[in-house]
């Protein structure tokens, strides 16, 4: 394994180029993804290589997703970019009523093997229309897969797997991760979907944390170790469907669960994990299941307010300590 260190956004770029090289049915589409290489530079270099497979569009998100669905019917494998995940709101119908249901509507004959790369999350001071976490909008819709990488290696491996998947995948790219660096194998192939990853083993509390929340959990695990509290940190990697087996096994062992989630609390994805546990593993639980989340407000602009709304390290520590002392 090579020790090559690249950024999260570079990892995505590599995955795209790798898959487009391998399979000429793959193309990218979105606003400014071609000539300019994407608003965040993630698709740079692709248009130069394959001008006809890197389509710059008008500001027409419904058309983008609709086009993806139609081309998938013809066997293509589109990768669309939502420059900011929030904009998927104007294409919501296309995701929920077209992409998600396409296989069902077509009797299994074809499906929407599309990837929607959605740049989401808070932290860059761009307020309520450019900071949302969109997974709760889609989780109740059968047919969709939602993937949430936390590291460059995951970004590359999971994106490759998502492109190869025959299901429609919403691929969440947290914008605060783009510049994060990590070891990524150049020859890296797919990393399995639907599999959570145990980031560190522990015996007292299971902590589930995805994307930018993972570092908070890992930090807490270091700090709490000194207090004699041992965290098992799980990175779900895929949010729908959840890797129930891994999560259940962990909580069966620890008996305690804290879920750290960006985004408002009410019906965020932490609710599903919590409900799943309260249903299936009740007898193993030693303490209430805690959800550490953003505050239930639109994301405000000013840095101080935004920081206050987002989950913090101290929130994770407090939740874990309370859980332990229950």
């Amino acid at each position: 394994m090579s020790e090559r260190i690249i950024s999260f956004s570079k990892a995505i770029n590599e995955a795209l180029i790798q898959e487009m090289t391998r399979d000429d049915k793959v193309f990218i589409i979105g606003e400014d993804v071609g000539k300019m290489g994407g608003d965040f530079g993630v698709t740079s270099g692709i248009w130069t290589k394959w001008p006809h497979r890197a389509k710059d569009t008008a500001l027409s998100e419904s058309a983008i997703i609709g086009l993806c669905c139609g081309s998938a019917i013809c066997g293509l494998r589109p990768v669309a970019e939502m420059m900011f995940a929030d904009f998927i709101g104007v294409a919501f119908d296309q995701v929920v009523n077209n992409a998600a249901k396409l296989r069902y509507m077509f009797n299994g004959e074809v499906g929407a093997q599309i990837v929607i790369r959605a740049v989401q999350g808070g932290g860059i001071r761009c307020a309520y229309h450019h900071s949302q976490c969109i997974e709760p909008w889609f989780m109740n819709t059968p047919g969709l897969v939602i993937v949430a990488p936390a590291t460059p290696a995951e970004a590359k491996g999971l994106l490759i797997a998502s492109i190869r998947s025959d299901n429609p995948v919403i691929f969440l790219e947290h914008k605060m991760l783009y510049n994060n660096k990590g070891i990524v194998d150049e020859a890296c192939e797919e990393m399995p979907l639907y599999k959570a990853h145990i980031e560190c083993e522990g015996s007292d509390i299971t902590v589930i944390a995805a994307m930018t929340m993972l570092p908070l959990a890992l930090e807490a695990s270091k700090i709490l170790k000194k207090e004699g509290i041992s965290l098992e940190v799980i990175n779900p990697r895929t949010i729908v469907p959840l890797d129930k087996a891994t999560i259940l096994a962990s909580v069966a062992k620890t008996g305690r669960l804290v879920i750290v989630q960006e985004g408002p609390k009410v019906l965020g994805y932490a609710a599903e994990i919590s409900a799943m546990l309260a249903e299936d593993l009740f007898e193993y639980l030693k303490a209430p299941i805690k959800r550490v989340t953003s505050k239930d407000v639109p994301m405000p602009f000013a840095p101080k307010m935004e920081d206050y709304v987002l989950p913090k390290s101290s929130d994770v520590l407090r939740a874990c300590r309370e859980t332990m002392n229950f």
Partner: protein, 322 residues
């Protein structure tokens, strides 16, 4: 148009008419579940458009699309059984009247959300360009559906990229109870297409020959890489919005006027008067159609219901739902 083609079109329209009449009857008897949108009165628009298309073309019939669907190539009885929600239906009863697909013959009549196929068609059309083949994508839509934002995103992109799409807008003048002049500013809806510099034509949608002529131009333009065309086919639905809708919102004279403009009658008269076809020749055709319809209804009635668990199939490519 030559005699053979016109006879074939008469047969196609007769097939639609009789198919829809039987659907209506069965719906009113209560043996078809859900609600049903009938295309009686709009046969010429559907038949004329389908006439110029190949199996490899992508057809997007809408909620009022049984007619186009039976002409796409799927056996009528499999369509009928789907409308009945039977296991033998072309989609196993999962879809029903509003969702009848058959990819083998390019029938993509799957969507119940108005405006959705407009953007889906961008994808099948884009794929034709991407793969460099000559398939065109035809969107059947109503006047009311033009209200959806997706129509704009669709024609804007199709026109910019010169995608092989035909907007086959059957203007039957109402969206449920709302007249198109109450919902749209244009005197003629084709004006909308002109706003995108897309060649747009208003055609008598009850004159099947006029429809074929316009459709041929539109399809040729699409196959030649010249981009989309909008056809506004003027027509009328004889019934209300759905089977059972009294449609009290329409003046009686208007209904009478349009029933007099019956596309089948018009074609029949031309065949009899201009092409030397005999009443008997047509009777033979009508009887042939009758057999198909009778068979379709009997097949549908006698077909088994789907297994309840069939509803759990085909959600994911690689996972079963419990």
């Amino acid at each position: 148009m030559n005699k053979e083609n016109l006879i074939k079109l008469y047969r196609d329209m007769q097939l639609i008419r009789r198919f829809e009449e039987e659907v209506d009857k069965c719906a009113k008897k209560g043996i078809i579940p859900g609600f049903i949108h009938l295309s009686i009165g709009q046969e010429a628009a559907q038949a004329g458009m389908c006439h110029v298309l190949k199996k490899t073309d992508f057809k997007y019939p809408d909620h009022r699309g049984h007619g186009a669907i039976v002409l796409c190539g799927t056996e009528p009885k499999l369509v009928m059984a789907e409308i009945f929600g039977k296991k033998t239906g072309i989609n196993g009863g999962r879809g029903g009247s509003m969702h009848i697909n058959d990819l083998k013959c390019g029938n993509l009549g799957f969507n119940g959300i108005q405006g959705s196929t407009q953007v889906t068609a961008l994808g099948t059309a884009f794929a034709s360009v991407y793969k460099n083949n000559d398939a065109v994508s035809v969107i059947f839509m109503g006047d009311g559906t033009l209200g959806e934002g997706a129509c704009h995103e669709s024609i804007n992109m199709a026109a910019t990229w010169k995608l092989p799409i035909i907007y086959c807008l059957i203007n039957n003048q109402y969206a449920i109870s709302t007249h198109y002049h109450e919902a749209h500013p244009q005197k003629e809806l084709k004006t909308w297409g002109e706003g995108y510099e897309v060649p747009s034509f208003r055609i008598d949608g009850n004159d099947v020959e006029a429809v074929v002529a316009a459709a041929e131009i539109a399809v040729q333009r699409a196959r030649d890489g010249m981009g989309p065309t909008l056809l506004e086919l003027m027509s009328y639905r004889w019934q209300g919005h759905f089977s059972g809708d009294p449609a009290a919102y329409r003046p009686d004279e208007e209904v009478a006027y349009w029933k007099a403009k019956d596309p089948l009658k018009i074609t029949k008269e031309r065949l009899l008067n201009l092409h030397g076809v005999s009443e008997n020749d047509l009777l033979v055709i009508e009887q042939e159609v009758e057999l198909i319809i009778k068979d379709a209804v009997e097949f549908s009635i006698s077909s088994p219901e789907p297994d309840e668990q069939d509803g759990l199939l085909y959600v994911y490519a690689d996972m079963e739902v419990q």
